[in-house]
Symmetry: C2
Subunit: 569 residues, 2 copies
């Protein structure tokens, strides 16, 4: 029996478009005699639809669209479509109004529904806000085979794999106990760094444990801050990878299920990008899809001559083509000569357009406006920020005038400690590298330059990073060296370690305390930041829900001998 | 037996401060021979602590603080304290790592824990992200009385009252079946308009149904976008209100429980503000607490001479004192004369300071910067927005220089349809009236003026609203009249009605479609807006989780005969 996975890139809420994607995949699959077609989780509305699910008209439109799709599909094919459906007993028995479901479409009909049982509520997930968990794990019969249906999180509760239970029930174990021949999974599993290795380890162990093959169909594409990486896979009952779809691209992958051996047969295995190549591919897809799905064809950004904007320019060019990217240089009297020359060299290497708008006169105009009010004070943060806000206003003026998407260039390290200007360099519709620590920005640029076409001028990689908001300023006047800072941030933000635990790894207590204080105080800036493409397990996006007017500063840093701060390597 | 409710205003995460609030209330209660003291939900950490709960060090600090508090409390008093505690079987049985609990402190000990059973996940609530539901509703014995313990949402599942079940279990019914003498509830129930009436109706019905009195202890104070209104109450077994604490203020309320009649005795009933007075009190508290808890003593805002900034100036003056409020007037060549004179009159009425910073020269500087790039285009939205961004940058410059909190002045109607400038008039640390529709802004100002001290100049109330970003501009050039707009917005945003349903209430189909399109397209602006004080059931804050790059525009508006748009009344 031939099975196909349609690794689709739906647009949230665009039901007709998404239905057409499913239909087109089915028609292509039909030419290959596919008997069963899988699509991703909630493939009809796209994942995550979030509060669109609170509009009854939206849910009704979905419910009407499904039987229509069933009629349009090739009748000889069984197609599994993801859809949110009403929970008919919610009002009577108590419960959420919807199920997150998989619909089996066949013979022109909607034949059966399967409901997601494990509803994630951690990180970016709010499944429990909308959905009632399904009460049983079930299979359907196809050509004499029992095919067990799971949805995304349903697979993520293997106590042996995780060393603990995440949920009270394990759908996988329940299906295995029903002696199914194949377990299929419709997923909307967002990308984070190296997550595919985790998924494959988990699926390998699950298939080995139960001796039942698994086919895993993941969504692909960018939806706001979330990137879905695709990389749908199949594992046979020996726990071996038998097929893998493209990473970060739509795909239609076929695989043969042999009814005699009751197992998946080896098929094509697409290469999985690793390390920097993986992050690069994720970010390019995130930028491309945000622009496409919001209706932008051209991107723009401020080019400072620094490494962050260099990387974002390269990303934008890769996402929508260099000819569709405009870089704006906005030197001030405090800008170094190389800030312009490095930016122009970068732009030339990339082939993007540039404009130069010096800001000196605008700075003078603001100085004059503030002259009376600020007369007794010295040049300080207010004046530094004004420069950034002039640039932000110029960028938005151009964005408004020409309809380009402004992409902001801040990295995760500065967003964490607030080393960025609200309404200034934070401006933009999308923050492309907001989840990349500064050290990773460097690594990614070096990787990019090691490729066929080195585009980042070497000087951008070697000069000390600087916001250039006052003469001679460098980032390390205000911040610990980035390798130290990023390590502390990773421990505090991602791993939720206490100050004492971080100090125990060799950091100076005063530095740790200061970094944590900066992180806590910068919450108000993050609250107003554009969506930032999620790359790590813990991004400052929809999965970061921190109070602002709060006063928890862990004060348990033990007194420790002064540790000399190493200089930047 | 004397019982007291400590209606506290904790600061999120400030465990020592919150413990001191509890202790001070207990000491005061001890002077009145109080036997049992209630505090609000999660009173030790403040509600909602959000992702602070993901830091193990935070949870551990709370766990250590509780027995210390127990030792410090008057030993003869039973005190109920809200705290998040570890779920010891989470890893083994599956489940969330914490319980949302009430601790019974007595005799210097932590004697017992009670866990919240119904975990809300709608609107602003994420309880299920952190907490495992408790599995049973229990009581404790005090002087021979059975006192049943519930936490907030546990009371909100009366199928008779709501006409439907919200959850599968009903803790209230379970406690009633155990023949408790009194049901107590520790709440962190955020304010929304007229919610107290709803709470009291619900509690009246519950006490009548089960014939058991209820004491309801609510948190008070502002925490980011949420305002907690206090108004803690008691209902006797006949369903009569016997006591009510202050609205929007900390309070210590005592009430007598008579062990013979096994009922609460009538006590003091604080007045409950209604309608505009209620909203006003809520907003003043929201501004005051955001400032206090973030460490600001002075506020500032842009004064345009319009009604929104007039209301926000009055709010700020009421919250922190007129002497701590600075209004900045930033007239442009397009500004009317009355924009300055009305603003100055307002400032004089309020007694706040002002500064005038004309923006004409800055506009010219931007024009010159853009001259070459914009040479082939006409004056349009880009230029209009520049004026707003100049003002936003001036305001932030002053805020940065002097450490004043900038309060933004946008209302809900403009935030809904995007009639506001990102990085311009949206700038600020707090959006004081972001959940007030424009028609409510007018109503609130008229109510304010009807009081002892009319402060809003009459001309501000009567002139047509205008952003004054080009000559002769008024809001209604771009938007439907506000009474129509607000009605459509209420139906679409709050009531989740479909376009067809809205049209059926008498609105023109084209207007409805246009408004819905504007709302959908403005999502990117709302994503970057400051926290806005929540006043309605459906605010654009933590409870609004809408995708940006999405394409659902309900297209089911039926063709309808042209309905003449009524002019503004």
């Amino acid at each position: 029996m031939k099975i196909a996975i349609a690794q689709l890139n739906p647009t949230i809420g665009n039901l007709d478009h998404n239905a057409e994607l499913i239909l087109a995949a089915a028609q292509q699959a039909a030419t290959q005699n596919v008997r069963l077609l899988l699509t991703p989780e909630l493939s009809l509305c796209g994942y995550p639809p979030r509060d669109l699910l609170m509009q009854p008209a939206f849910v009704e439109q979905m419910a009407r669209r499904l039987p229509q799709l069933a009629q349009d599909l090739p009748p000889q094919m069984a197609v599994l479509v993801g859809i949110a459906v009403s929970n008919p007993t919610a009002a009577q028995l108590g419960g959420k109004p919807l199920f997150n479901s998989t619909a089996l479409l066949q013979n022109g009909q909607v034949e059966q529904f399967f409901h997601k049982r494990l509803l994630p509520t951690y990180d970016v997930f709010d499944d429990n806000r909308y959905f009632e968990p399904g009460s049983a794990s079930e299979y359907f019969m196809l050509d004499g085979l029992r095919i067990g249906v799971t949805i995304c999180e349903d697979l993520w509760n293997d106590a042996n794999f995780w060393g603990k239970r995440n949920y009270a029930v394990d759908p996988l174990a329940e299906l295995a106990a029903q002696n199914v021949d194949l377990i299929i999974n419709l997923s909307g599993s967002p990308y984070s760094f190296a997550k595919q290795q985790l998924r494959e380890s988990m699926l390998a162990q699950a298939t080995q444990t139960y001796g039942q093959p698994i086919l895993y169909s993941n969504q692909v594409g960018g939806n706001d801050d979330l990137i879905f990486d695709g990389s749908s896979v199949g594992f046979n009952r020996q726990g071996e990878l038998v097929c893998r779809a493209q990473a970060f691209e739509s795909d239609l992958m076929t695989v043969e299920f042999d009814p005699i051996s009751r197992d998946l047969q080896p098929s094509s295995i697409a290469p999985q990008p690793q390390d920097n190549a993986e992050i690069w591919a994720a970010l390019v897809l995130g930028v491309k899809d945000y622009m496409r799905k919001c209706g932008f064809s051209k991107a723009m950004l401020g080019l400072s001559g620094g490494i962050d904007s260099a990387l974002v320019a390269a990303l934008a060019a890769a996402a929508v083509g260099a000819e569709n990217v405009l870089g704006i240089l906005m030197p001030s009297p405090y800008s170094s000569d190389h800030s312009v020359s490095d930016a122009l060299e970068l732009a030339q290497n990339l082939g993007i357009q540039t404009q130069i708008l010096p800001i000196g006169e605008l700075m003078q105009s603001y100085d004059q406006s503030f002259a009376e009010l600020f007369q007794d004070s010295e040049f300080g943060l207010a004046e530094e920020n004004i420069q950034s806000r002039i640039r932000g206003s110029l960028l938005m003026g151009i964005s408004n005038k020409f309809g380009h998407l402004l992409i902001s260039t801040g990295n995760k390290s500065e967003l964490a400690v607030g080393y960025c200007t609200l309404y200034g360099d934070m401006n933009g519709g999308l923050a492309a590298i907001a989840d990349l620590p500064k050290t990773r920005v460097y690594a990614l640029c070096r990787w990019l330059n090691a490729g066929d076409n080195p585009v980042i001028p070497e000087h951008i990689l070697t000069k000390p990073p600087s916001a250039e908001l006052k003469p001679g300023q460098v980032d390390q006047d205000s911040l610990p060296p980035y390798d130290l800072l990023d390590d502390i941030l990773c421990q505090f933000v991602t791993q939720h370690r206490s100050p004492a635990e971080i100090v125990a790894t060799g950091h100076e207590a005063a530095t740790v305390e200061r970094v944590i204080m900066l992180v806590t105080r910068a919450e108000f800036k993050r609250k107003q930041s554009p969506p930032g493409l999620k790359i790590t397990d813990r991004a400052f996006g929809t999965g970061w829900r921190m109070p602002i007017a709060s006063r928890w500063l862990p004060s348990s840093v033990p007194a420790s001998p002064k540790i000399a701060l190493p200089t930047r390597s």
